[in-house]
């Protein structure tokens, strides 16, 4: 304690073989609304005990539910696949800038659905040395209908999109180009890749 007080806790010897806030359980704070959060990491099965550092979010299997990856100090990482059985519907959006930077980093989308207006931004890097997937993700709860969306591009352009034009992309990823009225499936390449993979597999099966 004296070392702590005198600011000597930078040194390696201070720690020795002890733990120092070690073996802690990761937290998943579920937003219960009304300004309340509940840590449900244990019941949800996302409570790794390793010394976590960076954490990034992405939809790794394209099922519309966000997964997690954690880089742990002095250990192997943790990849948590999200298997929630009764998660709501969602829409993912990959924005492509033309006048704005091509990654559309800094773009904000306001999406109205199910009585809520949600705001999400495109960002490349946040948290601790971490970067989530660039496409933004909106949970829609039980609602499969989108009222409208508004994209505020870094160039200053505000683009309004009717909900009916987004509805076909519920539970999928829409590709939206700056200023363009055309919305396409962002995972076209992925679909092609999947077909190729299944063909390869079929080929292997034959030989």
């Amino acid at each position: 304690m004296d070392q702590y007080k005198r600011g000597l806790f930078f040194s390696d010897e201070f720690v020795g073989e002890n733990s120092w806030n070690g073996y802690e359980r990761k937290c998943l704070f579920a937003n219960a609304g009304g300004g309340q959060f509940l840590d449900v990491a244990r019941p949800a099965g996302a409570d790794s005990i390793k010394d976590g550092r960076g954490v990034a979010i992405a939809d790794y299997n394209g099922d519309g539910k966000l997964d997690l990856v954690i880089n742990n100090n002095n250990s192997t990482p943790t990849v948590y696949l999200n298997n929630l059985r009764r998660a709501g519907k969602c829409i993912e959006m990959k924005l492509v800038g033309t006048r704005s930077n091509r990654d559309a980093i800094g773009a904000r989308v306001r999406l109205s659905a199910g009585g809520k207006t949600m705001t999400r931004q495109v960002e490349a890097g946040s948290g601790y040395a971490s970067e989530a997937m660039l496409p933004i993700h909106f949970g829609l709860g039980g609602s499969a209908k989108i009222d409208s969306a508004e994209i505020i591009w870094p160039s200053g352009l505000t683009q309004r999109i009717e909900g009916s034009r987004l509805d076909p992309f519920v539970d999928r990823m829409a590709r939206i180009e700056e200023g363009s009225q055309q919305i396409t499936e962002a995972r076209a390449a992925r679909m092609a890749g999947r077909v190729a993979a299944s063909m390869r597999q079929a080929h292997r099966g034959r030989t």
Partner: protein, 586 residues
């Protein structure tokens, strides 16, 4: 004037004056130290008592727990802890603690209370009972504390559970034995579930990466003994579709062997580091940022390095990268974090680098309001993979020891602002003025968080259209010690470190920013994570405590995401500092 008189005026009087000032100063210092010592001793006693309680919980022993209570325990109105179902979804049940059968409580009632709670438990996996704060020391041997009980186990129904409860407890010492003489539940909750929401697929997915310490920290040049703990900070993680196949890949920063894993699209990943044209070994890569710096539709990769130069790789669009570091102008060493954003909306992505401190030449001064870091860097993208350091012109040289940077337009004016979380040093919000300069608006906006900032994220938590901020900090369970660490104590520490003269202006700054509260500065430093809610009118309020998004722990990365697709941003926060051979905390 006689010689005798002269000697009197010019020698004895000054000597006596100096002596008196010295004695007064010493008395004052002693008093500061004595108060701190009393708090420290009280804190230690409380921690010991809570530790005995915790052992009782882990042993499922009502007797051991009840032994922590005074025979004359008395509470005017208390009840039995009951759990009321609040919500149920996807196999997760949330119960709020309510008090049943409220009446005056005595020790026998406490026994009943504890028996009923433990009666629902089949087994305990782990318990913690942490001292949150020492609220009052009415006199030596008496204390009012706040404490947090955290229990995880399996219920009689075979379902895993976790309980968190916050108490206020009145303690007193009789013949050296500290006991609880009164207690009040502030709030408590229990969550249960089948643990099926998330599956750890790391091994099955073929990810064999294991993080390494940066070997450079252990070389004599980097004085590992002086600032040894710096080497436990590794490392970041990034996700991007680097090869444009529609699947999101993973990059792990590392001390010596950063790795790029390609997502095969079937829940498996393959290490493609070398295949993608990245070196098999790279020392001190703290962070990787994938962004399209030349707007050609391919992800490029910026690598921030701690003990060497930063690197830049151009994405070739065929799943490979080419090193374009040479002459790119990527800023200095000691980078911990980085994020890309277009601060001048010229359509080209710039980079803001968070940096730490060079342990070869210094240690953090003032311990917690540190300004002697390397200074963060803003790199302007000039095109053609060339960057210019515009930090000074932009006014964003933040000198704390940075562990988190985030871009976000908090005031919806169309320009991206920057939030900086500092480990040693207070946090800072830089407002983008739209003319290539930024203003430090931390104090005005209420975002000058004092904790040991470990990460920061922007996101709209309450769907009001304004970006809020979540900052991870340290809430170490030793908060009581932070309380002991007053501004005066910090000054004493600075004196002992021999840095008091250079630190004095900073103490003035601390005093100016926290005003009359300065004496509890230490308490603010270790109060834990902050959830800063943006009111849309340029002001943020920290609601982490009422939002219950601030349990004890040593937090690192944190992020906002909607894990259950209900339209509300949830928060994931990872923690854990050093898990040593011995499981017990320092």
């Amino acid at each position: 004037m006689t010689r005798k008189r002269k000697r009197m005026v010019f020698i004895y009087v000054p000597l006596i004056t100096i002596g008196v000032i010295f004695l007064a100063g010493k008395l004052y210092v002693d008093r500061v130290e004595a108060n701190a010592q009393l708090l420290a001793d009280t804190g230690q006693s409380a921690i010991k008592l809570l530790g005995e309680y915790k052992s009782g919980v882990e042993n499922l022993s009502v007797d051991e727990i009840v032994a922590c209570y005074d025979d004359n325990y008395s509470s005017e109105a208390e009840g039995f802890w009951s759990e009321e179902l609040e919500s149920e979804r996807d196999g997760v049940r949330v119960y709020q603690w309510r008090l049943d059968g409220i009446k005056p409580f005595h020790k026998a009632d406490v026994r009943e209370q504890v028996s009923r709670y433990l009666g629902r438990v089949r087994s305990i996996e782990e318990g913690k009972f942490k001292l949150d704060s020492v609220e009052q020391i009415p006199r030596s041997g008496q204390a009012v504390i706040r404490s947090i009980l955290w229990v995880r186990g399996v219920g009689l129904d075979g379902v895993p559970f976790e309980s968190h409860a916050l108490f206020r407890q009145w303690l007193h010492a009789a013949e050296g034995e500290w006991k609880i003489e009164k207690q009040a539940l502030i709030h408590g909750e229990t969550v249960t579930g089948d643990r099926a929401g998330f599956t750890n697929i790391t091994e099955k997915a073929g990810i064999t990466f294991e993080s390494h310490q940066n070997p450079t920290w252990n070389t004599p040049e980097w004085l590992p003994k002086k600032f040894g703990i710096i080497k436990y900070g590794q490392g970041g993680v990034s996700t991007a579709d680097y090869d444009n196949d529609g699947w999101y890949d993973i990059f792990f920063g590392d001390g010596s062997h950063p790795r790029l894993y390609r997502n095969n699209g079937d829940n498996t990943f393959t290490d493609v580091t070398v295949k993608a044209g990245l070196p098999a070994e790279m020392i001190g890569i703290a962070v990787g940022v994938f962004a399209d710096f030349n707007n050609d539709g391919n992800k490029d990769l910026f690598l921030g390095c701690s003990t060497g130069p930063n690197r830049l790789y151009r994405g070739n669009g065929d799943g490979t990268f080419t090193d374009v570091t040479e002459g790119a102008g990527l800023g200095g060493y000691l980078v911990t974090v980085a994020a890309a954003g277009d601060y001048d909306n010229d359509g080209k992505l710039d980079v803001y680098l968070g940096r730490y401190l060079d342990p070869r030449t210094k240690l953090p001064t003032t311990l917690f309001y540190t300004r002697n870091g390397e200074g963060n860097t803003l790199l302007h993208n000039d095109g053609n993979f060339h960057f210019s350091d515009v930090t000074a012109k932009a006014g964003v040289r933040e000198g704390g020891l940075t562990l988190g940077v985030a871009w976000g337009d908090y005031d919806n004016d169309g320009y991206q602002d920057i939030y900086v979380a500092n480990d040693f040093g207070r946090n800072a919000l830089f407002h983008n003025n739209g003319d290539g300069t930024f203003s430090d608006v931390s104090k005005r906006t209420g975002t000058m968080d004092y904790g040991y900032g470990m990460s920061a994220t922007f996101g709209d938590i309450d769907n009001d259209g304004n970006l809020d901020i979540y900052v991870s900090n340290v809430h170490s369970g030793q908060r009581w010690y932070g309380q002991a660490a007053t501004l005066y104590q910090y000054m004493l520490t600075s004196t002992r470190q021999g840095t008091i003269l250079e630190d004095l202006p900073l103490y003035k700054e601390i005093y100016a920013s926290v005003g009359a509260d300065y004496s509890s500065y230490g308490d603010r430093v270790v109060k834990g994570n902050s959830l800063l809610m943006n009111d849309g009118a340029g002001h943020f309020t920290d609601v982490s405590e009422s939002a219950r998004a601030n349990p004890f722990g040593w937090y690192w990365g944190s992020t906002m995401f909607d894990y259950d697709n209900d339209g509300r941003q949830d928060i994931y926060a990872v923690n854990g500092w050093i898990s040593g051979k011995k499981k017990d905390d320092l």
